[in-house]
Amino acid sequence: MDAQVRISVQEADFDLTAEYAALRHGEQIGAIVSFCGLVRGWDGGVAMRLEHYPGMTERALLQIAHQAQARWPLTGITIIHRVGELHPGAQIVLVLTASAHRRAAYQANEFIMDYLKTEAPFWKQEVDATGGHWVDARETDQRARQRWEAEYDG
């Protein structure tokens, strides 16, 4: 099935409403799942800085979208990721998946986030009063991605 795919890497904030409205059309969509990631605060935290690899980032996100599309019957996929300096509470990532069926929309959305966390070239730096500190990759994110390799989608 051909899904409408939109990928954006941007400094600007995004608008869930507008992105949801853009995917909601026609009468064959039964489910739209959205994931919004927000910057969590931490003790002494001032901001989060997000670096990325221009060119490769869009390419990696598009590949992840295509993998999801190949695996589930989707009518639309939107992936927006912000870069630059973001303060606690800010929106950082948005993933929308639309499908005739709720399970496809849920599963594809979680799949995209799990792959994004391990395959898309973004790096976070936590900024506090002493400066910037690179965040280490988390083992739990690796495991979250790996379960899709073993799992037959149910």
Partner: protein
Amino acid sequence: MKTLELRYFARLRDALGCQAERVDVPADIDTPRQLIAWLRQRGGAWDSELSGQRPFRVAINQDMSQLDDPIPPGAEVAIFPPVTGG
């Protein structure tokens, strides 16, 4: 000799003090594993950061790659820490 465009990101770029460079490598350097060994000969941070003690990833022409994938002539090869977006 072949020419490669190297790029470094995030913590690794800071540690190496280098963001991007064009290098001429011996013609028999065909894979990221061989390229890494060649870069480590520079010593210092190059040797320690790329020793494998801290994990890193490699992309060839903006695709995530394995250490033994072929590097085409003129390729853009990026080396960076495991990603932490989202």
